[in-house]
Subunit: 342 residues, 2 copies
DNA sequence: GACATCAATGTAAGCGCTTACATTTTGTCT
DNA sequence: AGACAAAATGTAAGCGCTTACATTGATGTC
């Protein structure tokens, strides 16, 4: 005594077929191409499905159909509201097309990202969303070999040939830096996320240097502090900046969270913002506007990016010609944390 | 001409076996129980694996082994920093035990949660993490039938028998409300997330009513506005509150984000906080401390909750006796947004 | 009425892996 | 050196599903 319709074990396609008095093929068709099956039969099958509480076995399905309707994404962290938002939009759009999203996080570690990408592929991700360009050639080669459509996002660089949808971190930050310099600031510091294997952070720093150069400042004089993502770390970095270079009047931060930390540290130290020092961020997360003083920052269309990334990936999945990369516009949100140099 | 070692197709176990001159069983063992294989053979196999760029097919593996080392989680949204943080910790701990996390989000919709849970199970999730208790009996029945270990989190209620790790939303909010009332507030309003199918939100509202009752206030007089998660929605709700009941002196919000919105609206309307009205939150997200004035709120140990949830789930997976539910302590963070009634 | 056509359904061959069981190799003991 | 146990490896049967191909039966045509 083993298999039987009434067993309490997990029901399979065959159980459903038996109960509905049809073949497994018909059940399968009911589930995947309902209109290939005549109404009456379909009703009977669906009834059996619900009677039994049947749910298809994903692994078996993937194995047989050689596709999973699953898209994978590896993001540096979920704690960053920015990724969270973009990914949420990405997921919503995917859902609209019947695709499921698998998320993994790399904790900002390149080797972990490598592992996660492979895990996602092994899991059958039909396509992948990756943040930024920076990763080992081996990984790219692996992806190419498995021919997994891959879309780079949160970054955009003319010189890269991989499909991407993002924005020009360098140009956006340069624009902001020009504004800062235009306010008379000459002693500038930057608090950035670690730039190793993070082209976005690197691009932003480069943007500052670019604007400094244009203004006749010595870009090498930029005081740069790299520190992991976090309000606390931003605070600490800010203290270091002011200890190392008390004459600093403007601190451009690589992202809003770091900027928020810097802001807090400034107030704690007794520095007025923007009276004594100006502080800027990047990303324009919701609270940037709520900070006291409100944070001048670079606004990025995260939700749009997420949504369009999904569309592009779906298009790639359909085997269309590789889509041309998209550069999304960013714009500066001028708020109180930036003022003229003292 | 089709299959062959040098084909550019995706390599399978059989390809590896052929190249290493062993059987597929040996390759499988090398990958799963390395010490069952003699060193020399293993080296040869591993070499073949890397030569070929082989990665196991997850679906096939799940199908054959009947387990996936995957844990699923359905969260209401990723945009809420609170879930993001807890889940991040959850994932880290799972990773330490060789498990992978699959995340799905329900957008705060009960039916979507149902769908997602089933999808996760179909995908082979060996266990599930769910937020709060509220969901249909059918879903619970389904989970029981498939015998998927399930852990409820972010909530804790004595009267529930499902394994859970969380905190007592009602008691925590009641404690805060007592403090507010202790400051002389009598005209109290609450801005809450929608309470339908959200026992956490409901518990928090109940907590306020409880404290009001204790203090001899009429709990029915509590002005309650329900609105989705968001700073903007919090702002709107705050305006409604003050329009409907200008005498209100304290607004208890169901979460920090709503409170931040309320705070902003208050300042816009020209109300001093806490001079004219006091505002409190719940969750103690990072920015609660940074708001101006800093937000009085209930601190919740999210990371610890996530970490311990992972441990519990792993224990459940090992088939240990069902773990007893855990109630984590919360504590009030008194900050400037709460002051005596005017 | 015989036959072609087409829609609905059935049959059965895998998909890539794990694992129980069978077989071979190695090592140990007398 | 032979016998035997243990270790290493091989063989092959599925796991639950999709799908190419085969079969059946209805409908329409001349």
């Amino acid at each position: 005594m083993a298999q039987s319709t009434s067993e309490s074990a997990i029901p399979t396609l065959a159980d459903v077929a038996r109960r509905a008095n049809v073949s497994t093929a018909t059940v399968s068709r009911c589930l995947n191409n309902p209109n290939q099956v005549v109404d009456e039969t379909r009703a009977r099958v669906l009834q059996a499905v619900s009677d039994l509480g049947y749910a298809p076995n994903f692994g078996a399905r993937a194995l047989a159909a050689k596709q999973t309707n699953t898209v994978g994404a590896v993001i540096p962290t979920m704690e960053n509201a920015v990724f969270a938002r973009g990914i949420q939009a990405f997921q919503e759009e995917l859902g609209r097309h019947g695709k499921t999203l698998l998320i993994a996080s790399s904790a900002y570690q390149e080797d972990l990202e490598d592992t996660q990408v492979r895990a996602l592929v092994a899991r059958g991700a039909d396509a992948l969303l990756l943040i930024g360009y920076d990763r080992s050639p081996e990984l790219y080669a692996f992806l190419a070999k498995r021919s997994v459509p891959t879309l780079v996002t949160w970054s955009f660089a003319e010189e890269q040939d991989k499909p991407a949808i993002g924005f020009d971190n360098r140009a956006a930050m340069a624009e902001l830096a020009r504004l800062v310099i235009g306010q008379g600031h000459r002693n500038i510091a930057c608090i950035s996320a670690p730039t190793a294997s993070n082209d976005r952070a690197r691009g932003r720093v480069e943007g500052i240097r670019l604007a400094m150069g244009e203004a006749g400042l010595d870009a090498d004089e930029l005081l740069l502090i790299e520190t992991p993502y976090g309000i606390e770390t931003g605070e600490t970095a800010m203290r270091q900046v002011m200890a190392a270079a008390p004459a600093t009047t403007a601190i451009l931060c690589g992202n809003d969270v770091l900027a928020l930390g810097a802001l807090r540290a400034a107030l704690e130290i007794g520095l007025g913002v923007p009276g004594d020092v100006s502080i800027t961020g990047f990303d324009d997360i919701e609270i940037a506007m709520l900070a006291e003083p409100a944070l001048t920052t670079v606004h990025v269309p995260h939700r749009e990016m997420g949504r369009r990334a999904a569309s592009m990936l779906i298009q790639m999945l359909r085997g269309k010609d590789p889509p041309k990369s998209v550069k999304l516009p960013t714009d500066i949100r001028l708020r109180q944390s930036l003022g003229p140099a003292r």
